[in-house]
């Protein structure tokens, strides 16, 4: 189909409908509310589909849990403070191996923070977020087109691995408008995942639970989750490399920060500096081998994030000491400009003697 101009929030919602999302449960919070509104206007009218404005983010994610139990594709969306409220049920879904798509159009924190775009939920997203030993897949698009594409990917990965998937955007990606092309038509009937609980018709009854009073049994659940996480780490990493072939300095950035860095790198190249960018699309699993590979040709890395430095931990763990990593970040919802990042790149380039 032809490209249409849409906000990121609306693009996610439309992509979710086209991915066969049957149930959406939301709660208003800036800067993702347009996603909820789009679902209210569009999903609620589709045959067999459900939209509910829940009484809280907690209720919304637990409705997702319930819908997922039946095998339906279910989604909720929120922004940072609301994501904190959802963590309990995400932990339960991880333990119960229930798929779901959870969108976080993140904003400045901590606390009520600000409504401006920020990337300070990296730790919460990539380290499980709630209690217990678990992971969620985390996808970090950096354009409206990618928001749409990765929404579809998120539903597929959630079903494939029976795991909650976080789509981590930010207020800027959610609010800005860009041309987007949808590659799928919405299914006439929403798909139902086999194995869901819809009553024990023609089979023995089943139950889904996360509690056991036997630590050995729970240990085995943990190890079985761990084995699945290993599979995901092996098969599902995704990243973008931009002008890295001859780069001596590589900027690492994700999401909207990578859009800003791209402009800075293009200008740095025009000034003759050999700079490139490594952008993880999957934040968990982090594409560590792909990043490590770059350290064969580049020694210097500049980690740029719109926070106080969170992904830098994964950058350093991936490089395993084989790169020199510097950090530049702006927390609190401040959006740095490309020229600001270019100044940082230029200073580092000369400080490290890369200008020959």
């Amino acid at each position: 189909m032809a490209k249409v101009l849409m906000t990121g929030n609306a693009a996610i919602a439309e992509a979710a409908i086209r991915a066969g999302c049957q149930c959406y449960f939301g709660y208003p919070i800036t800067p993702q509310t347009e996603l909820t509104e789009y679902m209210a206007a569009n999903l609620s009218r589709r045959p067999g589909c459900t939209f509910i404005q829940a009484e809280s983010e907690i209720a919304a994610i637990n409705m997702v849990l319930g819908a997922s139990v039946t095998g339906a594709r279910a989604m909720t969306s929120s922004s940072s403070p609301g994501m904190s409220l959802k963590q309990e049920a995400i932990s339960y879904m991880a333990a119960s191996q229930l798929p779901a798509v959870i969108v976080n159009m993140s904003r400045g924190g901590p606390g009520l923070g600000s409504i401006a775009a920020a990337q300070s939920d990296y730790f919460q997203s990539t380290r499980g977020g709630g209690h217990g030993d678990y992971r969620t897949i985390v996808l970090a698009p950096s354009s409206v087109q990618e928001l749409a594409d990765e929404t579809h990917t998120a539903f597929d990965l959630a079903d494939k691995y029976s795991i909650p998937v976080i789509l981590l955007g930010d207020g800027m990606l959610g609010q800005m408008m860009e041309p987007v092309e949808f590659k799928h038509e919405a299914p006439a009937v929403p798909p139902v995942r086999p194995g869901g609980l819809r009553g024990a018709t023609g089979r023995p009854s089943r139950f889904i639970r996360s509690f056991t009073s036997n630590p050995a049994e729970l240990e085995e659940l943990n190890w079985s989750l761990y084995r699945r996480y290993q599979q995901i780490q092996e098969k599902e990493t995704s990243c973008e490399k931009f002008m890295t072939d001859d780069a001596q300095l590589i900027v690492t950035a994700f999401g909207i920060a990578a859009r800003i860095a791209r402009g800075a790198i293009t200008n740095a190249r025009a000034l003759g500096m050999k700079v490139g960018m490594f952008r993880p699309v999957t934040l968990w699993p982090f594409p560590k081998d792909q990043l490590k590979e770059l350290s064969k040709t580049a020694k210097y890395f500049l980690d740029f994030e719109m926070n106080m430095g969170q992904m830098i931990d994964d950058v350093k763990l991936s490089l395993e000491g084989s790169g020199d990593v510097t950090f530049y970040g702006r927390p609190g919802g401040v959006i740095p400009t490309s020229s600001e990042v270019l100044r940082v790149i230029t200073r580092l380039y000369y400080q490290k003697g890369l200008n020959g």
């Binding site: 907690i58 637990n62 139990v69 609980l197």
Partner: protein, 251 residues
């Protein structure tokens, strides 16, 4: 010889872990009898909570999903909306339904979700060892109200059924008890009506069950049954609180 009493088909052949005199096992059996009588075993999904009844799925031979504490109303909403042909019931204690899950309960009722809520009120947090619940009686000693529940500091026992009765989406709210044979029969009639309402698409039904907890009340089972009549039901009167289904009283 005619067999006149047997295990309900939807009650698994397992030994209950509940304490002697506890009301849970009676309520489990009643629900299973109703599931059999309504012939809905193959489309029922139960939503048990954390708490003493966390192992409900060892006893009910229907599909079950253990949900986070207090979130039964929201989880059941998600199930019922995604699979409207299923029969969904929540099984919730007083800490669950009347404290941590107050919002989920009230709003599931207010949306008129077509589900059945079974509310076990035993005036304490049972599994954690008898702490004060929102339904603990005034003056009652628990491990977290060791000098007796004092309304000045702890508030009064909350009457959730009366609150839910105010909500338009709730079609049927009844309070029963399982401390005497007569009350158990009334409890079954109320529960059956609450399930039938769902089959008839009438909306949210809530049955509150005053349920003895001799262990945490530190009483003999017989004394605990008496206490339900003498003390608990004075604060939580038995009977129909709301019924808009147009049918006769469950009694």
């Amino acid at each position: 010889m005619e067999k006149i009493f047997t295990r309900p088909k939807s009650l698994k052949n397992a030994v209950f872990h509940y304490c002697p005199g506890c009301g849970h096992s009676i309520v489990h059996r009643l629900i299973c009898e109703i599931i059999d009588e309504l012939n809905i075993q193959d489309k029922t999904i139960g939503v048990p909570p954390p708490g003493c009844s966390v192992f409900a799925y060892y006893y009910f031979d229907v599909d079950m999903i253990e949900c986070p504490h207090g979130r039964g109303g929201a989880v059941a909403t998600g199930i019922k909306r995604a699979a409207p042909d299923s029969v969904v019931f929540t099984y919730q204690g007083d800490g669950d339904l009347a404290a941590i899950g107050t919002a989920e309960t009230l709003h599931a009722a207010n949306r008129g979700e077509n589900i059945t809520a079974v509310f076990i009120n035993n005036a304490v947090y049972g599994m954690t060892g008898g702490q004060m619940a929102p339904t603990t009686m005034l003056g009652m000693k628990t491990t977290t109200s060791p000098y007796g529940r004092d309304p000045e500091f702890d508030g009064h026992p909350i009457k959730m059924s009366e609150i839910i009765g105010q909500v338009e989406g709730a079609c049927y709210v009844e309070r029963v008890a399982v401390n005497t044979p007569a009350n158990i029969r009334r409890a079954k009639r109320a529960l059956k009506k609450a399930f039938q309402n769902q089959l008839d698409g009438k909306g949210y039904s809530l049955v509150e069950i005053l349920s003895p907890c001799p262990t945490n009340w530190k009483m003999s089972p017989v004394d605990s049954w008496k206490w339900v009549d003498d003390v608990m039901s004075k604060k939580f009167p038995l009977g129909t609180i709301k019924d808009t289904t147009g049918k006769t009283h469950a009694d």
